[in-house]
Each structure stands twice: as C-alpha cells, then as structure tokens.
Symmetry: D2
Subunit: 409 residues, 4 copies
C-alpha cells in the first residue's frame, strides 16, 4: 500500500537550495515523488512554484518525510487547521508535539494563519486566544504549563526559511560566506564594520557575546570604546569576563598579568578573588561604579551608558559576583530576552555563551562569529542563520582593528 | 635599603625542580639571594636541604617573592604562628588573605602545624577551634561567613608540593608524561587500564567526568559496562550527557541519529525533548529506572549499582532533567564533594565539567584527561596534578579499547 | 549592450545541486538568465533537462560566467569544435587555455566528442591525432611542450560532474557525509571496512597514503597485515614514514621510543640516522629485505608482496633513503601514476602527501580521509570527490579496529 | 658489577635546569649517582660547579646515561681525545657515531678543544686537518664521504647548552615565554617589533620563513614593506608563496580571490597557472621584475633590494617556477646556508618550511613563531632554541600591526 500527500514549494526554490533539499529528504527517507506542476521563475527576480505528490510505503514514513519537508519550508498544498492538544502536566509535552525550527513560522487556527511569536528552535508552540485575537508563541519545555494548548503533528503549520539574497552586494552581502579560512583579515574586518554601521543606521541593536579571552588578549579598552560610542547595545557574558575586566581596572592585571608590560604573571588569583570580594562588599557592579571603586572598562561603560548586560553563571566560576545569575534556567531566560531584541549578534571568543545565545535566535538575526579555534566557529555557524559570517582570527587583534574601522573613519 | 628573609628548602629539591623554580622566582621578581647552607643528597635516595637569604629592595617586593616561594614549597626558616583576621562580612575576605595552592598545606597555630583539610586551590583558609583541637580547612569565597578566622599574609604557612617520584616504574610511573602526542595509542590505553586497576586494588575511588561526545561517538555501552563492573565509582556530567544516554535507551537514537546504522540524522531534537519530558513525567532518573522506562545505559547502571552521580546544569541545556542541579554554586558544591573523595579522575571529552572538577582537586589526585582537541588536554593538564597524563585521541575508540583491556583480560 | 549564450543542463540537475550552483554562479558573477525550457524528471528515476539563456553586460563577463558554468557541468546548447592553439614554448600555455576540473570531460574535435584521458584538475588538455583516431589528455604545466595543441576558451568542452547517487544505501552510500564529527566511531570504521571489501570485490585497487604518525601511534603492525592480506594494493608515503617503519624493525623503536613499553624516548635520532645509513649501505629497501636486514613491517610487506610504493622526498627529510624520490616533479609524476590507478584512496594522517595525491585524483575515485586534526580532514575533503568521507579520529586506534573488522570477521 | 664515570657541570646549573635534567636522566635510565663536590653560586651572578660519580650496572647502560648527559651539557671530568673513525662509504656513518645536538659543541683533538662549525642537530661531526690547524664541522648524512674522519662514542666532546638569561629584562627577555595563549596580542607584537629592531641594531640578520597564508590573509603589502625597509634580510618560502604573491601583482587576485573586495573567488587556478607560465616565459622571477612583468609585492622587493630568497619545492606545487629548487636535498642545502647566517628567524604560517629551517638552526638563534594553529606553534618551539617565543594569532592581522610598530614609530 502506498500513501501520499500533496505539498507545495514557493519562492526562489532552486537557488535557495530548497528544491534540492526537498528531493534529498524524500529519497533519504525512502519515499518517492512526482512533480505535478512546476513554474520556474524565468528571470532572476521571479519566484518559482512547484507542487508535487510525495509517496511513501506507510503513514509513519510519510509523516516522517512530511515532517522533514516542513523544516525546510515545504508545506502541504491543502492546509487544515493545526491540531492542538493540552499539555498533560507542567513541563510535559503531549505526544507528537511540533518541535520548532528557528525560521519564521505560521500556525493555521480557525482558518487563518497566525505568525508564531519569539521564534526559536526546539520549542513547542502554544496557541492562546487573547483580546486581540488568537496568539501563537514558542515555549521551551520548562515553561510548559499543564493545560497549555500545544501544536502537535504537522498539519496547519507553515515554515518560511529566509532565502539567500539574490544579490551578494550591499552591506550584508558578504554574510553568507561561512567560515573565512583563507580570506584577507583586514578586508573582512572592514566588511564587518560596515555591517555593524548599517545595522545601527537601520535602527537595529547589536548584542556582543563576550568571552574572557577578550580581556587576556588586550582587547578590553577597544571593546569599552565600542560600548561607549554605542556600537554595542547589549552585552552577554559570564562571571569570568566581568571579573577580569574589573580586576584590570582595580589592580591593572588580568588573572594577575599586567596586560601592558606582560610582566609577572603571578599573584593572579589573589587579585581575581579580591576583585570579587570588593564588588560583593559594594553590593554589585553598578554600586561599585557609583562609589568610584570601578572607574573604567567594559562593565563600567555598560553601567555608565545604560547598556543592559546579562552575566550568566557556570560551574567554573569563582565567587561569583552578585550580578551573576547562578541559576541556569533563570540565566537562559535573561539571555533569551536579549537575543530576541538583537538584530545583529557578535559572538566573540566564547563557545558556551555563544551557543546559549544562538539557541535563542531566529534565523533572521545577523550573526558574526569570531574565534581562534576553527571548530568553534564552524559549530556556531552550523546553527543556521540566513546572514552569518565566521572569522577565524585572534580576538586580541580583531577588536582593535574593528574599533579603528568604526571609530576613526 | 634592602630587606631580607631566611627561607628553607627540603626534600628532593633538585630533581623535583623546586630549587630551579625558587631561583627563577627570585630573579623574575627582581630580588637576589645568597645560599647560606646547602646539603645535597649524595645518593638518589637522600634528601637535600638548603637555607638561603632572600633579598629585595622593599618590604612589598620581599613579600611578593616570599609569597611565590611559598606556592612552590619554600618556607621561612623561622616559623611563627599564622596571622588570623576575621572576615569583615559574608563572602568578603580580609585584605592580605592567603590564597591556597592545590598542594598539601599546613598552618602554624599556637606553635603547632595543623594540616589544612579539603585542599583545593584559590580558596581562603579558615582556622577554628574544635573539641579535638584546632582545625584548618579551605573555604571558597562564597562560603566565607562574617567572623570566620581567615589566614592572612605568608607567615606560619607551609606548603609541600608532591615530589616527582624518583622511580618512573610502577603502575603510575607513566603519569608524568604530559600530553601524549606521538605515543602509541593502544599501549598508552593499556597503561591507563593498569593504573585504574591498581587504584581499585588500593581501595581507591575512580570518578569519571563525562561529556556528551561519549554518547555520540558510540562509547555508551562500554562506559555503562565500566560503571556496572565497578571500574567507575562516581560520575560527574551535565544535563546533555544524561539526556543523550537516556534517549539512546528509549528511542535508539542520540540527538536523532541511530548510533548503529548511522541512518537518518533527523528528528533529533524531538526525541531529545521527548526524553526530557518523559523523565520529568516520572519525577527523575531513578524513578524512571524503577518504573522500567529506562532499561539500559550509563545512567541506568549508575542507579542500578548505586554509583552516585552529579549532573550540573549549564546555560546550553534543554529541559533540564529534574536531577540536574541548575544553580551553579550548588552544583559546584556537589562537584567539590565528589572531587574530594576521588583518588583517580578520568576526564572524558568535556572541557567545562573537567575544569569544574579540576578546580576542586588537590595536587595528589591522579588525573587522566582524554580529548580529541589537544588544546583542551593541555589546558586541563596545566592545572597541575603530580600524577597526570593526557591523551589526544578519539573517545569513541578510547573507551571500547579501555573496556576491553579492563574487562576481558 | 547585452550579450548572451544558450546553455543546457541534463541529468538529476536538481537533487545533485547542479541547477542551484548554476543559478548561483550567474548571479554571483553579475549576469542574468531566462529559463527557456524545463523538463523536470517527474519521478526519482527520471532525468531532468533545462535550457536557458545566460545574459551579461559584455563578452568578458559572459565568458567568465560560461567558464564557471562549465566547471559545474553546464554546457553550451549548440556545441562547436574546441579551439586548439599550439603551446608557444615548453612549459608555457597559450593565453585563454582551458584549465581542467577533476570531472569526466569531453572535447569536441572534428564534430565528435573525445573523452579526456587521465582527468585531473588544474591541467591543460592536449589533443593529438593517433592511429586509433584523435586522443585528448591532460598535461600539467611542466609537461607542456612547444607545439602541443592546447584546448583554449570554453567552446567544444563538455564536463560531467558525477551525480550524487539517488540512493544512500549500498556499501558506499555513507561516503557523502562529509566530516564525521559527532558520529559513532566504531560504526563508521565498520562502514569503511565494508567499502574497502566491496572495492576489492569489484576488482578495484586501494591506495594507502601514509604519514609517520601511523608508526608513532603504534598502528604499524596492523597496517602491515592489511598490506600482506591484500587490502592495500599500493602505498604512497614520505621518507620519514619508511624510516620510522624500518627503525622499528631493526631497533625496536620509533624515533627512539619503544612503542610497546613507551620507555626511554631518548637516543631517538641516532637510531633514525643509523637506519637510513644501514639501508644506504644495502643499496635500498628491497635489497635490505632480501639480505635479511629488514624482517618485518609495512615496507617489508610491500616488498615481500609486490605492492608498489612511492616515497616522495621533502625538505624535512633526514637522509634520505635511496628509494626516496628527492625531485618534486619526478615524485609528482610517480604519485600521479599511482593515483590514476587507484579506485579507492585511504588518506591516513598526512596532509602533505594527501594533498599531493588528491591533486591527481579524478572526482570519481573514492576517498577516505582520517586525521586527528579536523582542519586537515576538512581541507582534504574540500577537493571534491563524489564519494568521500572524512573521519576525525586517532590513527593509532583507527587502524587496529579497521584491521580487526577486515581480517577477523 | 658496577661501572662508573666522573662528570662535571659548570655554570648556572641550577636555575638553567641543567642539574635537574641531569638527575632526571640518571634516574630514568636506571643509574645512580653520588655528588662528590658542589660549589653553589652564592649570589645570582656567580656560577656553580658540581662533580659527581655516575654509576650503572654495565658499560652499555653507563654509555647510554653519559650520552644523554652530554646532550644536556654534562661533560666527563677527565677529558680524553675524541675517537675518530673513517666513514666506511659515502652516506654511511661508522657504528657509534656521535649525533649532534643544536648546542655549541667542542671536540677534543690532540689535547685541544676545537669548536664545531655550523652547529645543527642530528648531524655527524667530521674532523679535518687544515692549514690553520684542525677543524671540526657538522655534516648531514647525505654529505658524508667515504673516509671522512667521524667522531664516535662520547669521549672528548663538550656540549654547552645556552643558559637561560638570569635577567628577564632587555629586548629579548620576553623570548622565553613559550606559546602565548592568554597574552595580550598587541603588547606581544610590540615586544617582537622591539626584538627585531634590537637585532638589526646589533648588526644581525633577520630571516622570514613564509607560508602562502600570508598572501591569502592580506598581509602581502605589509610584508613587502618590511623587506623594502630592511627589517627582513632573507626569505625562505615555497613555490606557492611566490606564485600567490606574483599572481596578486599581475592579476590582482590570490588563488583567484580579489583580496580587497573579497569578490568572486573563482577562476582561481587559471590565474595561478598563468602566473607560473608567464614567469617561465620570462626565465625567472628576477627576469620578470627586470622586464616589468612583476611590479610589486614581496618577491619584487626581494629582487629590487637584493634580499636573497630560497624557494623550496614540494610535491604539492603547481608548475613550478624556474626559481624553485625541486630537489629536496639541494633545497635543504640552500635552506641550511640561510639558516646558518640568520640571527633571528620569523616563522610565519608555514609548518613545512619552518621545520626545514628549524632543523638547521643552532640553539643560539632567536626564533619567533606565529601561526593560528596552536599545535604548529608548540611543535616548532619544541625544537629548542634558547630564545624563542610563539604566538597563536592571525597572520593577516599580525603582519600589519608588526609593520605599523616597526615603520611608523
């Protein structure tokens, strides 16, 4: 017995690779297809349309294929309303729940398409009636409450992966290039500077995700300038980053090394612990800035210029600082809020925090990922933003050159 | 004006490198020295003794030198009692507090040397009178309470770095080799197996610190056998490790990939989220084992054989499972307790958890560190255990060969 | 003014990605297109056909686009004979020469399509009349002789990139997976063993490209068994590999380390130099095998079982051995000959030799690339074989497990 | 039965680590020792002296220990003349030949100490009578001629490893720091610039060893300026480096990518092959500079400013250029000559060429090693120069910042 379903593809389905993925999925999962209609965009500005019949040996296989096609933006041609099933318990999803991609998504509810709010991958979608009509939004597993109406199966869901821009020009045109292994470093940094400038010009917000290597490598002062001058609107980091930054202000060292003279990398941890102890005594970073204990640096500029920051705790932390959110779930929620507000994210030398932020990003957010370890850059770019670029370079030279490009031209 | 202090070195001070470090420290910090007495061990079993006068330009510099010498086991020749200062507030250390190394340490209190309990680096030392006499123990910053009597300055403190064994033979003799880059893999694994066997024979405990790559790489079944057969006594991991392990049991996949056939790496996260959802429904891992929901794997064997485990949360986690400790400080405390009980630690493909565990280890604990990334292995070995070995290899082939060595010979 | 040319695509042009690449190229290079005919294969076994008009602003741009389309198998719809221009001098190509891809290629000569022999990328194509009719074959730059009739421009050339098999089953189905970062190691090795077995069953030849790490990591005996048992038909390596292998036979060490006991990694280079000195004294490896100086190992098995080997020299070499080809051009020619005979190539822990071999491979040769450095694996796979798989693992555990799979099942 | 020999250590034998190594060697190799005399330098400027008796179970073991001690600068206290044995054949060393370290070495010949010329490791030492008295010099294996008087055994040889400077100040003081992983990038580059400036001030010569990544990463123009301005006296590279550099001049691309706009990374290899073809047509790089074909770039500046360069061939090369030395032995000889003349070597993003150069360097040459891959930097620094520093950074940002430091201050 063969079962089948009719699906549709629309848009630049060939050069975006959608059609190819679609054929690949069907064959990989053991199904077959026949193309029933195919209107190709004759010119590069015209969209294409395809309708095809997907066939499989049984319903299970068919659902499996249709599920995958969905993730890539192929939708059933005859849409029905989405199936809603109440969550059986707090933090428990109904069987067959729909797990989101990070692409713009729509739910069919009472015959209408409702856009899902706060898109983020690996979430459930909950539908609610509100005064302004029906709302659909993502919920992570630990936020699910008993009785939430959760979308299940594949019916009544439309996914629209962002298309690859047809034109590689413009300030963001270079952001499809994957990892730059053999690209000229200074030219690439200039392009990143342009993209930041353009994002700001459009009224967008830039979120910097920062690892402690930024401080060790001597990039602190230049990053502080970028915060002060408004090229960085929000900051996401860990306890270590903030402590190193403040230690540099109070003791002139970072983990005990004088970052100017490179001398005497000793006594390190004592300064480190003192720094935390001092900030605890003051009650927090903002209080320490106010009291004059902290007089410069990245955290100082964040406080002084009202750039919100999230410091997420981890099991490696000393201290931590009073500002550090030690609970992982609470910290994720704070990260999520920042991530949803960002139009462009700079991931600077931190795998842990970049993954955490990246998990919360819709595929429409621009991402720049910089690390000296190519494996880190590759892993972060694989999460799939439509406009992303990775650069394997030294953060200690990247930030100064970026700051020069942004501030001195 | 010149200030000076007399210090002493004892033991195998030349071949352990202590004397060399000592001279290096004094010169690096701008001081000078004259050797007043030097008795060299004439034979390889005799200890040596040196007494020397350290000179510096001012008291600050001298303290700085003496501080560093301390860290390397050089102690003042005329000991006085340690200086104790009450902590001014919760989580605040007095100025000049003594920050610990990870070496065995003694505090001079009322003329007697008291060994510091729970040695761990970057802590404060608190001294307390108890019924059984004075006790000295480490406290991390966030555990400091107002009024704790904290050791400050360098006076009255003796540090004894473990010496390099004079004989490279024996089951642990190879554990001084740093990172094995060009060593024969199978022979090195055989040596590690011997060291585990010897540790067990001595009645020691083995702690395995496990990353999720263990599951992806197909090492799950062999690790589960090592837990079952008692070669692993305790487990330290993250939420992801446990979820992947349980997903493999319930759905036959790990992040959606069938680890046998390598087929269909799709649907992944749905299984992942379902797994968490199911365990939450049961109330936890032990409950899910009892109810028969989990029937095999590493976590199953831990529960079934009463091997304690710590799952520490992080900001990357999905879920998390009810067993995962989401608060970083609480998780550190659980990790600390395990670390202090361990005689040998296997760090298997996780940087984050290995650093967290490594931070809590005294320098006398044996450490084996395995990762495919040489930078990770180097970073972990740098933390300084006296008996440690690193191996850059594939965890997916390492664990099966280790299990074969331990279980089938 | 706009210029245009009509081009055609045939085959599984959508799921092989050809159509997508084609649209991408045209847009990247600033041209435009209109699709004039499009017959899509309605079922997964049917081929598709597209004819389209490529437009550009000037002839230069058009040629540039058409050149790139060629590389991806898009050919002009109205073929003319190829343009042949005599080489002006030895080692000098005529302007506008056609630089090859590594895909099967045909040259139109006197109205007929002639298949190009010895396909290899970045070469010129030379056409010659012979008794059996016209022949076309590749020549590297340094082999070009004055007067050679060299194909220039894009006219009269047809390129056929191998298609992605529609079915991922079969022994080679897994060889499209790129680099296995998170795949189960033992299962992947089992699949590689199957692919080797299948290649031998088909009467194919397996070429092993070997780095010295094979010996240091203890994989020597198992590789020797694979040579003896006929799973490796040819060997490509450097001077160092052969010397380490023979040193192990004569002195029981590799670079001075006993690969069994791991003891005393000293005296290394003396054994190393002695080994070379001894082989020079005998006149070569085969002579040293015959005289009984070499009694075991990889090189021994090559000689004893008539498996041809190429040892290519490099500027890092000690010695070198008399068998090592010190001239780079001569060595390349020897490598080229082996590469053209191979049906499957195992690249084992050597970047330099793997790149050299890879440069000479047509895209139809199967490639397995194993290295502990992910950057090496990625770089090698990027050269583009249609059936290739990379594995990031420890060669010292990979070869023993592979040998077990092949020899003991 | 026990055999013994008396040995001596002189100099800063404790803080240079010599004494520690010495004790370690004896114990590792199963011997024992008694210290017969020990005069410790009482102040940091005084040298120390030790005489001790090394004991072993048999003569073989004793020789093995004494051999190792030699390598570390420990010499027999009662020196005899060195043993000279004629080489039995071309490229064949006598049994027991002495294999050199890279440290300054002296041979006792007719009661006098003769310094060995052209120190380099893993060579034989040949002694010859000349008009100016006896000469001792190193010879690599392939240069040995039948009848050469080769030093054998350990007798009559004195090795003097350079001592660690007692003072870490001065322009070269930072060059003992191993690999900079967590050091501030800009400050480290400033220190390297100072060391280059100081070397030039002392009349020393700087050799740059260059990989092709220098060109891809956009560092070409700044490197060319350093050659022009005389901060680089000699260049060692491969065929690829020169071709990419010249391609950039002639076609504005490097492997086909416009290094300014980052556009159109296509056509690459055609430009590459054309470049080689054009230089062959001219007869060589110097000829192409003279004729005006090459007008800028690194190779241009080398020719224009009479900075000698060595281009060593490899099996990966296209072409090669007429200037490329394709024979590995001949290329090594050219590299050796440059290496022996250099006072400071900059190893810039090439493992192959850096190893080849490094093999020829005495331990007294200053070495700076820059690569983005930490494993490469570690491997190169392990070869053991007394003044060496490694930096893990992006060559595309390193060279511009270095040039700015050197040229604009």
């Amino acid at each position: 017995m063969t079962v089948s379903r009719e699906v549709e593809l629309e848009g630049h389905i060939i050069d975006s690779g959608m059609m190819q993925s679609c054929f690949g999925i069907i064959m990989d999962l053991g199904g077959s297809f026949s193309v029933e209609e195919f209107d190709i965009g004759r010119h590069k500005d015209e969209e294409s349309y395809a309708r095809m019949l997907v066939e499989a040996d049984d319903e299970d296989q068919l659902q499996s294929i249709v599920h995958e096609l969905h993730q890539h933006g192929v939708n059933p041609s005859d849409p029905k309303d989405a199936t809603l099933v109440p969550a059986p318990d707090d933090q428990v999803v109904p069987h067959g729940f729909y797990s989101t991609t990070n692409h713009p998504t729509y739910i069919r509810y009472e015959g209408e398409w409702v856009e899902v709010e706060d898109m983020e991958m690996d979430c459930a979608v909950v539908v609610e009636d509100s005064e302004d009509g029906p709302r659909a939004f993502t919920k992570v597993l630990n936020a699910i409450e008993e009785g939430d109406m959760v979308v299940t199966d594949e019916t009544g869901i439309k996914v629209q992966p962002p298309e690859r821009p047809r034109d590689s020009g413009g300030a963001f045109g270079f952001m499809q290039g994957g990892v730059s292994s053999e690209r000229p470093s200074e030219s690439t940094i200039r392009k990143i500077a342009n993209a930041i400038r353009e994002t700001k010009k459009e009224g967008g917000k830039v979120l910097a995700v920062c690892g402690p290597a930024l401080i060790h490598s001597g990039a602190r002062e230049d990053l502080a300038r970028l915060v002060r001058e408004g090229y960085v609107d929000m900051l996401s980091a860990g306890n270590g980053f903030a402590v190193h930054d403040i230690e540099r202000d109070i003791y002139g060292t970072s983990l005990g090394m004088d970052t100017e003279s490179l001398d005497h990398p000793r006594h390190g941890h004592k300064h480190h612990i003192y720094t935390i102890s001092e900030v605890i005594r003051e009650g927090g970073i903002a209080e320490a800035v106010e009291s004059g204990t902290i007089e410069s640096g990245v955290m100082y500029e964040c406080v002084d210029n009202d750039r919100p920051f999230v410091l997420a705790g981890s099991i490696r932390d000393d201290g931590p600082l009073p500002d550090t959110i030690t609970d992982a779930v609470e910290a994720q929620n704070a990260i999520r809020e920042q991530a949803h507000e960002a139009d462009m994210v700079l991931m600077l030398s931190t795998l842990l925090h970049s993954v955490a932020v990246g998990n919360c990003l819709p595929s429409t957010t621009r991402v720049v990922c910089v690390d000296i370890n190519p494996a880190t850059v590759t892993q972060l770019l694989d999460r799939g933003s439509a406009q992303a670029v990775g650069m394997v370079t030294d953060i200690g030279t990247f930030v100064p050159i970026l700051a020069e490009q942004l501030l001195e031209e």
